[in-house]
């Protein structure tokens, strides 16, 4: 949150004031402090280890289970106090204002949940065998109110503080339906904590939360490994590219372009991930092409051209053993096919060409044209788009060209600086670019 609008400040103020008023009204008589204190500590612990959903903005933790347990065991005011304990979470990062808002939001949500529980006929106190199954309906109502109030209040503040550049606000990203469902799922454990309390006392919340904490630990490990994985693939791709000065960063940009197209045509999340890797790895096979062929300035012989045409297959040989989607492999193998069937390595045409390959082909050619080559400077984006349109239907799939152009209009294209060539690098530049549709490879006419 940078500088806030007046409306946003008013909104935050309203949430804070209503939370304070409701809690201050009490009643505090008959409040079972032992539950409040213990569950409050639990909330502090789980908030201190909350998972970051989006950098610096959203965090998530299973504290909703502890709050709902307090709804059953200690009533609305107790629940609000337990909710307010989030303020003491040791999470670094949030600003004072964020902290104040979060505290008020949780207190208010928990209070409303407690009211809902009472309104639906729930009895505050330790549940016993007679409480079941009558307690389930009020509890479910309380859980729903808690989760909906939490998400509603949070969406409000995210919407009011959305970045001004009009990017489709993060509200949808952070507060997806999946998160809401999983929150409801965790909320159900609140009832279990309350029910088990009669059997094992304060041991109950600890036992219930251990598997959830372990699950979150595994999720965090997964995220960390995935980041490491991405960085490693990126570094290795770069290593492959160092062989050729002009194509540095090419894989990365083709990857980004392919993702833009994939998102534009509404591909599912995991396929977008796969095409990202396919973009990064699409040219690894170029390493099998002798350097002297890549750097040749004159026309290529038939054999040399054949060597270049082999690179998608070489690439496939390298990445075949990686257990990711077959689609990505097909994309790497066929990214030089053309819609009219005159591409390589197999001469597939139209819909025979895998979708990933058709996407990669567009991004690949576009990056080649907008990058500097030894035989020409970088061409402007507008000119490259024109060129894509020109070959649309013969070399490229028109649908993906349109999608790419639309995405480019909205998001723009990160241009890179024209490379400054150091003297030692002069030897390692590509004289011809096999990806450049504007300057096709020149092959000596067969005899």
């Amino acid at each position: 949150m940078g500088k806030l609008s007046r409306v946003a400040l008013l909104y935050i103020g309203a949430v804070v004031v209503s939370a304070v008023v409701l809690v201050a009204r009490g009643p505090f008589t008959g409040l079972r402090w032992q539950y409040v204190v213990f569950l409050g500590i639990l909330v502090i612990v789980s908030e201190s280890r909350a998972t970051q959903l989006r950098k610096g903005q959203l965090t998530w933790s299973p504290s909703s289970a502890a709050m709902l347990a307090s709804v059953v065991l200690a009533g609305p005011v107790g629940a609000a106090i337990v909710g307010a304990c989030t303020a003491l979470g040791l999470l670094r990062g949030p600003s004072i204002l964020q902290r104040v808002f979060n505290t008020a939001m949780y207190a208010l949500s928990a209070y409303l949940a407690g009211r809902a529980f009472l309104a639906l006929g729930g009895q505050v106190g330790l549940p016993d065998e007679q409480s079941f199954p009558g307690i389930i309906a009020p509890f479910a109502g309380a859980a729903l109110v808690l989760v909906v109030a939490n998400h509603g209040l949070l969406s409000g503040v995210l919407w009011l503080t959305r970045p001004p550049d009009g990017t489709p606000s993060g509200v949808g990203v952070g507060l997806s339906g999946r998160l809401l469902l999983s929150d409801l799922g965790y909320a159900a454990y609140g009832l279990l904590i309350a029910a088990l309390w009669s059997v094992v006392g304060f041991f109950a919340p600890l036992l219930v939360l251990i598997p959830l904490f372990v699950a979150r630990w595994a999720v965090a490990q997964f995220a960390e490994q995935q980041k490491a994985y991405e960085a490693t693939v990126g570094a290795l791709c770069q290593a492959v590219e160092t062989k050729d000065f002009y194509t540095r960063g090419h894989s990365d940009r083709v990857s980004r372009g392919s993702v833009m197209i994939a998102r534009e045509i509404g591909m599912r999340g995991e396929r977008v991930e796969a095409i990202r890797y396919a973009g990064m790895l699409h040219d690894v096979g170029k390493l099998g092409v002798p350097t002297k062929v890549l750097q040749k300035t004159g026309k290529l012989t038939e054999e040399e051209y054949a060597a270049i045409q082999l690179h998608p297959m070489r690439g496939l040989d390298i990445v075949r053993e990686i257990g990711f989607l077959d689609e990505a492999l097909a994309g790497i193998m066929h990214h030089h096919e053309r819609i009219d069937g005159r591409g390589y390595p197999m001469g597939l045409a139209g819909d025979e060409i895998p979708e990933f390959a058709r996407v990669l082909a567009v991004a690949d050619a576009f990056d080649s044209m907008t990058s500097t080559r030894s035989y020409r400077g970088a061409r402007p984006v507008a000119e490259a788009i024109e060129e894509l349109r020109k070959w649309s239907g013969t070399q490229f799939d028109p649908a993906f060209v349109d999608a790419f152009v639309a995405a480019l209009k909205r998001e723009g294209w990160l241009r890179r600086e024209a490379p400054v060539i150091a003297a030692e690098d002069l030897a390692t530049v590509t004289a011809q670019d096999h990806d450049d549709p504007g300057a096709p490879l020149r092959v000596i006419d067969s005899l």
């Binding site: 065998e129 279990l192 029910a195 959830l212 699950a215 595994a218 994985y229 290795l236 492959v240 160092t242």
Partner: protein, 445 residues
């Protein structure tokens, strides 16, 4: 797919694939026989006495079978069945279901757990996956221990009346079961991979600790909650464990993909004609075997494997491939340059800092004779290269000399040549470990 994704470091699946009846190692055989004998005795006793509370027995048996179907692969080629294990432990620790006091015997626990496990293993066999009898035997033995200690105590009124005592006792027994599982699994791995017991045990506990905590907590939850909500507790408290298992599966999956990717991309040097085909893979396998022989722990072993796979990646930056790719034949300066370039590449990933360091120092001699002379003159001796670098240096030199040849004579000659250089170039302990690994391999051939 999940089977593929779960197989991880250090050894390829072809080494590990074996059929259930091919129990090769003596330790495994002993374990399986022990569990089998115990099981037969337990089944006989249960059959003679008749099944107590069949409805509860069937519910738990079904849960155990379900858990066994949903086995989980953890990094390091470990297969576990968290839900099945938790279900079996809960059955051993059960006191009340609803208001009903349960009185099944320890023998019945063993019988129900074993039948559940066997039924759950059938689908694995049906799709051609190994049954992993030894893993099942380990789990059964742990459950049996808990059952034989706790079942006689469960009918003790003191345990039933004081929840504090019951909680303490049950928690202690759960921890005991998890420890026992780690010890038995470590023993099996010592037998199978020739690791050292202490190293294997620490590795095992490190990998199993988080999931073990979740399994233990779930087992206790099911046992306690059955008192309040009856058999519904089984379904309710299996759910969080299921969530945990899904999270672990994704984690193990990305670990496996990571390794596959580094293995695959390490091959680019071969396709580019910089090194001989299969070189990186062979060096990494040999390096890991040496590392295990020297008692390196699993996380460092994984780093060693990455470094060994990528040790020649620096050659990509060379303009012309070295003829034949044998780095042992080029000058010291060139070798050092390749190592530096490779380390720079890895450094860019920012997550493999120690791997970059290992690659950077892979050519440094074990004992720098020039510096040793300086050392006598009062200058500080430079630090020795890390153990992993020394291992890669030896494994790389060995592979450059032997290549893909399987001739034991040639291998012995190569080891001999490295041994002659242990005064300064190669680490003597590493070369001896290499020699043991190579000897073992030629015996197997």
């Amino acid at each position: 797919m999940s089977d593929l994704a779960g197989r991880t470091p250090a050894h390829s699946s072809r080494e590990m694939r074996r059929y259930p009846w091919q129990v090769r190692d003596s330790g495994q055989l002993l374990l399986v026989v022990a569990a089998g004998v115990w099981l037969v005795a337990a089944v006989a006793q249960t059959a003679a006495e008749g099944l107590q509370d069949p409805r509860i027995a069937i519910a738990f048996g079904a849960l155990i079978a379900f858990g066994e179907v949903l086995r989980l692969n953890l990094p390091g080629d470990r297969e576990t069945a968290p839900i099945g294990f938790a279900g079996a432990l809960a059955y051993a620790l059960l006191i009340n279901v609803g208001t009903k006091f349960v009185q099944h015997s320890a023998e019945q626990v063993v019988t129900v757990a074993a039948i559940g496990m066997i039924i759950g293993a059938l689908p694995h066999l049906a799709v051609g996956r190994p049954a992993r009898v030894s893993g099942m035997a380990v789990r059964l033995l742990c459950v049996a221990c808990v059952a034989y200690i706790f079942r006689p105590l469960a009918s003790n009124s003191a345990v039933e009346r004081h929840w504090g005592l019951a909680v303490t006792l049950m928690t202690a027994l759960t921890v005991l079961a998890l420890l026992l599982e780690a010890v038995l699994t470590a023993l099996l791995r010592v037998d199978e991979q020739r690791a050292r017991f202490r190293v294997a045990l620490v590795d095992e506990m490190r990998v199993q600790l988080p999931l073990g905590a979740a399994v233990g907590a779930s087992a206790l939850l099911i046992a306690f909650a059955a008192e309040v909500m009856g058999l519904a507790a089984l379904a309710v408290f299996t759910a969080p464990l299921l969530v945990t298992q899904v999270a672990f599966r994704r984690y193990a999956g990305i670990r496996a993909t990571y390794l596959q990717t580094v293995r695959a991309l390490a091959k680019v040097t071969e396709i580019g004609g910089y090194v001989e085909a299969g070189h990186s893979e062979r060096v990494s396998r040999l390096a890991v075997a040496i590392g295990r022989e020297l008692g390196i722990h699993e996380p460092q072993l994984l780093e060693l494997e990455y470094a060994a796979l990528m040790h020649d990646i620096g050659q990509l930056s060379l303009h012309d491939p070295i003829p034949g790719g044998a780095t042992v034949l080029v000058s010291r300066q060139d070798q050092q340059r390749i190592a530096e370039l490779g380390a720079d590449v890895i450094q860019q990933a920012q997550v493999l800092g120690s791997v970059a360091e290992i690659v950077r120092r892979q050519n440094e001699p074990y004992r720098d004779t020039d510096h040793a002379a300086h050392g006598r003159a009062g200058l500080a001796e430079p630090s020795r290269p890390p153990l992993s670098s020394r291992i890669i240096k030896a494994a790389n030199a060995f592979d450059d000399l032997v290549g893909s040849s399987l001739d034991p004579g040639r291998a012995a000659a190569a080891v001999q040549r490295l041994r002659l250089d242990t005064a300064s170039e190669y680490d003597p302990a590493t070369v001896e470990a290499l020699s043991r690994v190579v000897n073992r391999r030629s015996v197997l051939l």
